[in-house]
Symmetry: C2
Subunit: 286 residues, 2 copies
Amino acid sequence: MSNDTSTWFTEQHDYSGSSIGFRVTQRLHSEQSPFQLIEIYDTTDWGKLMVIDGCMMVTTRDNFFYHEMMSHPALFTHANPKRVVIIGGGDCGTLREVLRHNSVESAIQVEIDERVTRLAEKYFPELCESNGDSRAQLLFIDGIKWMAECASESLDVIIIDSTDPIGPAEGLFNAAFYQSCLKALKPDGIVVQQSESPLAHLPLLKDIRSAMTTAGFASLRTLCFPQPCYPSGWWSATLARKRGDLDKFRENDAVTKSFATQYYNLDTHKAALAQPEFLKRAFAQP
Amino acid sequence: MSNDTSTWFTEQHDYSGSSIGFRVTQRLHSEQSPFQLIEIYDTTDWGKLMVIDGCMMVTTRDNFFYHEMMSHPALFTHANPKRVVIIGGGDCGTLREVLRHNSVESAIQVEIDERVTRLAEKYFPELCESNGDSRAQLLFIDGIKWMAECASESLDVIIIDSTDPIGPAEGLFNAAFYQSCLKALKPDGIVVQQSESPLAHLPLLKDIRSAMTTAGFASLRTLCFPQPCYPSGWWSATLARKRGDLDKFRENDAVTKSFATQYYNLDTHKAALAQPEFLKRAFAQP
């Protein structure tokens, strides 16, 4: 324990009775958008920190785990991902990773809160460096409505890069929304949902999987990876597919990829597919 | 962020500028042993929590990651581990996991602070359930001295289950100690050292690997795994071998093992061997 008198930003996570904090030097920005309270802090060791409604969203230093694992496993599992949609993802880090794939012809980000993106452009410019890519389209509208109206069988990959299932993102975690996704996906399409901590949120994770099955997805896989700024420091992304499985991926392409990553590679993709014993047991139960 | 006024125990980790906390209901015990301040808390969601000199050591709920990953990968990598020594490990959780292996004929725990074990027996009885095993021997003496005097080529596996490299454990992280380990190991012996967070302590982790190489170990592998109660929520164990490699292990035996685990299995063992891109790059540099 430290005796220093520095200021710390701490997220006390009621649901799991655990907290994570970072030592901060100053609060750079705070505003109540039409949807949520957005704060930006400067930290001593983690770069900038974005907080939404008191929950840590990204830090400069550790966002690579999440953004890489929300995009590359799904895109290397799909045979030829051309049309990708990101629901949420306002910090634009997932969009940047998606656009690293040369096969992608169109990447649409549907974020309800434009202020998240405008603040990311200012405080996390590296995450926004691909926003001007001609293949990118940034929409600031309701993702649930957009998906319900999306043309049938028009998308290859849908990435649900949302906040927690309370507040504006609540409607992104139920069977009705997943049915919209299913309809919008081409027959070999894949949806990815950020699915909380495998340890701290296991009941929520099981609810997500159950809602995906109810919606009609044929196969599911939950990938686990480190994420220091989220509760328990361990996070997951759940992939669901209309048909076909999610265990195999384009391994050669993952090895010969033309872009650099910090966490993702062939081995960490396989590692993320590994299911710890307690998770196997939990997923085997209804 | 929570508005509740509950009490939280928080470890503010100066080195990384990050903190982890748990909501606690009461402090059950506090004592200054001859070596360190030992506290036990009861938490709302994580069972009991042991804290040494302000640093979280174990919780009832999440210690399985660490104890399983400090023992099973090394023991399933060794062809036939019979004689195992644990340096530190006073909570006895690693000893319990080691004794699950039928091949083990002798497991000696060399912990400098008997009070850690006595308090574990009271507050973490499940971790101590194998302390009475006829193959187990609990010594409360200095592990550095014990190892220096250990008969040459007498051990199969050495597990260095220590606190951080400050305080009583400092001498367990240098080439002189690793040389004692090397001498005490049989030619196919393996040493395992808890090696801090791959993200938050990367310079320390590189120092550990460097000291092991200086001591004369032929091969090294750093395994990564989740550990919510330690800084960054992500932890590592570094294996070193006198000769031979550390990539292959007794896969069939890992699959058909006679005991239950919560995290460890064939797939999570392989997953722990996966090296994230940033770690590959860091280890490639001198």
